[in-house]
């Protein structure tokens, strides 16, 4: 069945609500309205306002009450309406959700799923286009994932809800309307693991690692490069915490060149961690230093100029050229 990414998430939520009576949804405007992106469309009607809960506008309380529900054995799925709205809930996520299992030496589980539409490219005002994933990747006790396509959105959401660990589920909102074939009945037992990265385009010259909204861009870059005879291997990380390094290492050991791209700012972003780890573990295979193609270390810019902040096909290819030492690449990055 062909589904958009929003429809796939909706189907995943529906399936979870059907399968497990302890699954409850909490969020702002998720019930009657069906969510500002219509991700939860129809769920309140079908499952009732006691399971699809329109909450007052307080993110700390959405997370904090979900902690209490989890204490009671529920499996809450929280929606944070936009990436930039998550910070009022940050303390509850970092100090409680992430730590309670360890704090109680395993007695209390926090099987929360926190859904966060993230990233730019939709022409929104401030606070609606951010990429805050690194904060959560840096926090032990959390799992962080980001699907790039409808099938993964469906499967990984079901895995996240089934996980006994808390999961931050970052939805690439600018890909919400991308449609693709989704197998709704494929058993989870045969699906790729939630924490597994995946090679989405095979290649031999450069390893290009990305996740979420930029996987589509990376694939397009690989196609464009192929026209010039450059073979890019694209890896969709899927899981940001933990990062599945095995396919990345395997690829880099063949290509000797690594490019990492994400919308989030560069400093201490995922690219920094991946570059450091691959340098530690594959140093003797690298032909050149890893290259990062990322957003800048700036507050998210106004939408008329966001295209200058967001890595696009050309900037990714410029990074690939740098990794290949091609003469037309942007120079001076080593200064």
């Amino acid at each position: 069945m062909k589904l958009s990414l929003t429809q796939a998430i909706n189907a995943g939520l529906r399936r979870a609500l059907e399968d497990d009576p302890k699954v409850v949804l909490l969020g702002e405007d998720i019930g009657t309205l069906g969510g500002v992106f219509r991700v939860t469309d129809g769920l309140m009607k079908d499952f009732g306002s006691h399971r699809v809960i329109d909450t007052p506008l307080a993110e700390s309380a959405i997370i904090g009450t979900a902690v209490g529900l989890a204490y009671r054995g529920f499996r809450p799925v929280c929606e944070i309406q936009f990436d930039g709205f998550i910070y009022p809930g940050f303390d509850q996520i970092v100090s409680q959700v992430a730590k309670l299992h360890a704090r109680t030496r395993g007695a209390v589980r926090m099987p929360l799923t926190i859904r966060v539409p993230f990233g730019g490219g939709i022409g929104s005002p401030e606070h609606h286009s951010e990429s805050p994933e690194a904060y959560f990747v840096h926090t032990s006790g959390l799992r962080v994932i980001s699907p790039s396509n409808p099938q993964d959105a469906y499967t990984m959401l079901r895995q996240a809800i089934a996980s006994d660990d808390p999961v931050l589920y970052f939805e690439p909102k600018r890909r919400y309307h991308a449609k693709d074939e989704v197998m709704l009945d494929a058993p989870l037992s045969t699906a790729p693991l939630m924490g597994a990265a995946r090679v989405v385009a095979a290649g031999t010259d450069v390893t290009l690692v990305s996740y979420g909204p930029l996987v589509r861009t990376a694939l397009d870059a690989a196609s464009a490069a192929a026209a010039e005879g450059i073979s890019i291997e694209v890896i969709d990380l899927r899981s940001l915490s933990p990062i599945d390094y095995l396919p990345v290492m395997e690829s880099v050991r063949r290509t000797g060149r690594l490019v990492i791209s994400h919308e989030a700012g560069q400093t201490l972003g995922l690219g920094a961690e991946i570059a450091a780890t691959i340098t530690e573990r594959c140093f003797n295979y690298l032909e050149v230093a890893p290259v990062r193609v990322t957003g800048f270390d700036i507050p998210y810019p106004p939408s008329k100029v966001e295209k200058h902040h967001l890595p696009d096909l050309d900037r990714i290819l410029d990074g690939v050229d740098r990794a290949l030492g091609r003469p037309n690449s942007h120079s001076g990055m080593e200064d």
Binding site: A58, S60, T65, S163
Partner: protein
Amino acid sequence: MAHSAMPLHQLVTASGTRVADELLDEFVSDLDDQTLRNLYEDMLIVRRIDAEATALQRQGQLALWPPLLGQEASQIGSVRALEHDDFIFPTYRENGVAYCRGASMGSVLGVWRGVSNSGWDPYELNMATPQIIIGSQTLHATGYAMGLVLDGKESLSLAYFGDGATSQGDVHEAMVFAASFQAPVVFFCQNNHWAISEPVGLQSHVPLAGRAPGYGIPSLQVDGNDVLAVLAATRWAAHRARTGGGPSFIEAVTYRMGAHTTADDPTRYRGVTELEEWGAKDPLTRMRTFLTNAGKLDDEAESAMAAKADAVAAELRAACINFPDPEPLSVFEHVYVDDHPILARQRDHYLAYLSLFEGSSPAAQGGAS
């Protein structure tokens, strides 16, 4: 801060006289003499626990201890109003509550000894692990209570917090959610007048209990040094919660006679007059006077209580001193439920590193000093 804007409910005065209270009387009408004596015994034991733990900190056996001296009635009165099924979300100071829930002394002390980040199994005691982040647990209690409604249970959750916590956004958000969803949660605020060095007047210009009605939550102010009144007030709130009445807010007006923790020096911010004033309202003294005058407490009963307190204190001291240090690799445990390859790798590397020290003196066996 003036509390005159709200009536302060009381059943036993500071001098030990039983007085009538229109709202609260019916909630203690069933208490027999033994129950009354038990309330006093609880307070006596909890005060002894507190003194023993404070001494252990002074002797270097505990890293820190948060004394509850002066707050015994607030803690005992409230916890004794609850059923076992009711779920408690405490702060780090509710060690008297933990005792009444049946926590072992070792499980109370582990955090303060520095061997663990929590003690008891929350599901055994129906009491969450104590919260250090101020006010955070009020949201957890509210969520738990929302879950009780979803499960169709006639039970409740109770959140303990202090006067300082009432300034936290989480506490206000908790009241918003509790009111919206009519969650059966009791907000039990111990106004002990001090948030470390900050007086309650810095947190609020109105009585703390006066805030709750603004959220649509009925509240009352009770003499927090009057164990009978606290018990009655909590029963009032619990009854509301169990009968579909939704959330309630109790402000127990009490006083932190000791320091914030053993690392604190209250002489820097408060005077002796205040201490003397509150010393005259001591919760144990008044209950003892009340019981003795009513002929409900004799020397024999008192010495039995003292012996029990001694035994608990001995158990506490032994548990503290006999704590084994945790195994080095235990720091990697329970961070995740499921496998985590990156953490597993760090653990393996640290294990390999530690093995370099095998056979050398314990002092040199790894770990930062």
